[in-house]
Symmetry: C4
Subunit: 330 residues, 4 copies
């Protein structure tokens, strides 16, 4: 809720206490009713745990988005499938138009009319056009003219998709698999650790952490509540190495006095959002992560990721991200 709104409602003569209360509630978008599901709100890959049904076919396919976000093996396989399918279809069309009107330089045709059409199609679609097979009738010439134009467009699409996949802003940030509840100065703190796995420079990092848990209303019915957790530091200008994000459990913290059992019974989940600027392309990158109650280790702390000796340049060992050791709580 923005300041303007808040001001507006503050000026009111408290006409509707219920409205005022609702305005102040500030949920982050999941609503209050998800109390029985006992499943994550945010999956570990950052997607929301919701499925859409119905809607238009085009929306459900969401082709461009899928082709951009799928893995490289899957993407290249789809390209190959598309290429083979297109050539097979066009080969079929050339067969219908008469395979004999595709004149081959050397008509021994060891591999029969279908494959002659298929290979002619591939040479047309890719615009390689050797010419040892060439269209010799009005009909096949027309089809070939159309196919080569389709080839250009398909090429254009592939160019766009490849560029889109490569240039897509992605935070190559890895989160420690588990959060810890460790001693922190003279209190305790909820901590997790993040690293930049790439040599790209990330700057202006911002982290925000929310806790979501199920609580009973005054009348006893459960509802889901959200808390923003204050951090020791929620912004750094530079991210040269690793960063241990710390929520100090002082008296104001909703975690103050909590036990592991409390977290489990209230179905607690810690929602993390990281925003940064990748300065190779000056792109904002975002990433989400979530720790559920059973992904928090109590009485453990993270081991340093740097080599012991302070040489120059400093060496950061990425494989130590998840290493923890016992640490008695305060």
């Amino acid at each position: 809720m923005n300041t303007a709104n808040q001001r507006l409602f503050n000026q009111t003569n408290k006409e509707s206490k219920l409205v005022e209360q609702e305005v102040r509630r500030d949920d982050i978008g999941f609503g209050t009713k998800l109390t029985d599901s006992r499943s994550r709100l945010i999956n570990q890959d950052g997607t929301f745990n919701v499925v859409r049904v119905n809607g238009t076919l085009w929306d459900r396919l969401n082709i461009y988005n899928r082709l951009i976000t799928m893995g490289w093996v899957q993407f290249l396989s789809w390209l190959l499938v598309f290429y083979l399918t297109a050539n097979t279809l066009f080969a079929g069309v050339y067969m219908l138009a008469g395979a004999d009107t595709l004149k081959a330089a050397d008509e021994k045709e060891l591999y029969g009319p279908f494959w002659k059409c298929f290979f002619f199609s591939s040479q047309t679609l890719t615009t390689v056009g050797y010419g040892h097979i060439s269209p010799d009738s009005f009909l096949t010439s027309s089809i070939a003219a159309f196919e080569s134009m389709m080839g250009l467009l398909a090429f254009a699409l592939a160019t766009g998709l490849l560029y889109g996949r490569f240039s897509r802003p992605m935070a190559h940030i890895r989160f420690s698999k588990q959060a810890v509840l460790a001693p922190y100065l003279d209190v305790n703190g909820l901590m997790f650790r993040i690293i930049n796995t790439r040599s790209n420079q990330l700057i202006n990092l911002e982290v925000s952490v929310s806790m979501s848990r199920v609580e009973p209303k005054p009348d006893g019915t459960p509802f889901r509540k959200y808390y923003a957790l204050s951090l020791e530091r929620n912004k750094v200008s530079f991210f040269p190495a690793n960063w241990t994000v710390v929520h100090p459990i002082i008296e104001q913290s909703p975690l103050y006095g909590c036990t592991p059992d409390d977290l489990e019974q209230s179905d607690a989940e810690f929602l993390v959002t990281v925003q940064a600027l990748d300065d190779t392309f000056i792109q904002n990158v975002y990433t989400r992560f979530s720790y559920r109650f059973n992904e928090v280790k109590w009485g453990q702390k993270f081991r340093p990721m740097f080599d012991g000796n302070q040489q120059s340049p400093i060496r950061l060992d990425l494989d130590k991200l998840d290493e923890t050791e016992d640490a008695p709580l305060n």
Copy 2:
């Protein structure tokens, strides 16, 4: 009006009350004079209801923008038209240069000189270049060299256009066709509902709603006035499912005490702007919508879009977006 300005004018000794009043008026860009038109300010596709006349031809054509925003069928048709036209034109040029200087491997030429030139042109423009027809004079060689370069550029353009069309930031947000005026806690509220129709993740959603209506000046002349409507919540971090945007009609609301007749007589229109971040490409997306007085249902509320049982993952039925049911107002 920004704070700096406001401060400046506050410091004045109120020299010009009229200026001060005008500075505070804060219209959103439509001005005060559109009082008789009795037509929408914002069309339902988000465009403004204004037509430009005169101006330069280039500005009026606005080719790139049109090619990016037109539908796919229209776009592909234009590409085909362009391809056929270009080939026809170049075929004409080759005819002028002498069709007989395009030497065909097999000169039976079932389809006559024009089509020989046409197909040679298509093979040159797409750079497929089979070679069973080839230029055999200085003139036709020169034209072909020029045409193949044009082909490269046209290809480049098509690549850019296709990429531009696909990567264009678009909020695939659907608004409920009608707004409702429904009971809300212990008061009433003006509500509409939005969903993300795609599986892309949208984050950091912000909604703003303005009401525009015609009111009489002290001297009785009508002028158009604008109100920002305060919302229960105008920002959410996550948009996993649907969101019902609510303007609570408390005493401060310009809608307080309004009747459907009031809205109609003042030609009321509710202007909605939604901004979000699509995190596939970390692009800001914007969308506009408007509800006119006759698109608000009084005494109706939205039906839930979730399936009754809380399974996991949660299922959101997009087809229920517009479903409402009777709800007596407070």
Copy 3:
């Protein structure tokens, strides 16, 4: 100077009055020393009136930027020049390698060895490759293999440049050729008018206006001073039609009590910056403009750009942008 800084200096015990004064001066980047030049600070195309000398050749050429910002005719001419030059150079190389090792299907060669090499080069560079001329020695085959790779890269470059030129964010905002000093409510105002010449939707427009003029220091030496001019309205959410930007000349204005002669003698220039969001691609666009003292008409006001009758949709006549009429000042 940002608030943090300002606070810091406010907390000081005023140790250095000179530093404090300098910190508050807030020039916008041109400095105080340009007092004799009697020429514009900002050209009417928005560029700064400064010339760089020396620096590295690469920086001075600034090729990519030039190819993106030059006009279309110039750009296409450069492409043609590049294509002809590249083909001529490669033709030379093939001549050196032996023109007779490029075997032509039909060796009558009406146009001699150079042109055979030239056209072969063009067919290789564009990858059209008819094959009626083909490389027949190791050396020419190697050169052709290299040239076709160069062709691919040149093609790639052209694609990028064309896309860059088209997708470059540009505010198609036209400023009225002259500003006016017109009556405004019960005072006067400095006004100019802007329109969006395209059918693209521009939203979230912000305008800022500074005045720069030469003033004498206490000791009489002239220096250039800058003033931010407060506006009736410096931000609108929507820009459906035209917008008349108004600086009301109230007592706080640095223009209060000024005469046309004052402006001329102090070499006054009004610097305008407009920022907006083009919502076709959700791109921020910026544009600058400047009015010098002799481009302000005193006692004139702008004529409306709308047709008289309020039909729907509203018709905006872009050709009326510069039309003004007499208006006696308050």
Copy 4:
């Protein structure tokens, strides 16, 4: 630390003084422990002085980022290496499939079967496809069909990479090689100078300067501390020429009373970040730089970069960026 956090901690009953102190410390991301390394934190090219070890191979290769950020000579060499390697590999595959099934128009084959395969491969990969060599068996036709598709994809990749390299936002800002400590008004100031080496217009420049130095804790152990240095001016709207950034050394400055020896013994480093908007593409650009204690000249000031006479347009001599002259300190 953001205001919300700060407020939260201010409201506390100071339960944990240590937490509060840590929250206020505000380091910029390098941490407090780098006290012995005696090496720069930020290299002069703006990268961080940290090396990553382990992690996944894909992350360590970081191919796209490397291909975008490497120099042009290196990039073009890699393209050539890739092209030759791909052709050699495919030539090998054609040899295995039988070089004699690639039928050459003129079978004298001066250069043997391998080179026939190699050149056929190059003609297929680039889709030039002259056709004087053509595949004559099912196997070689299939390989060629696959290779031409690969060629298209490789072409698409090269297009994307070239466009990415050219359109990558880069601040062509040059910093003076050394900072100076010069007289400034009635005190002294730490100064450095920046210029825009290109003719692109840069607007909305923001500079921030931090000092990092090693200090002893109350118990005598050294730790690294960070100070934001307040500037005479940290933001300008326009950057037409050069800009001398000044930190005035008034009583509040951490440099107040410092000597060159103090800086050396505390291993002082000045970290500079510049942000601007390049208005050719409306891209934000960022650049970092750092001056170590031994890169600050005491008692020197910068010479003007403008020609003496105020002609129009103003001439800025980029080669004078580093020129300083003696100036006795206040």
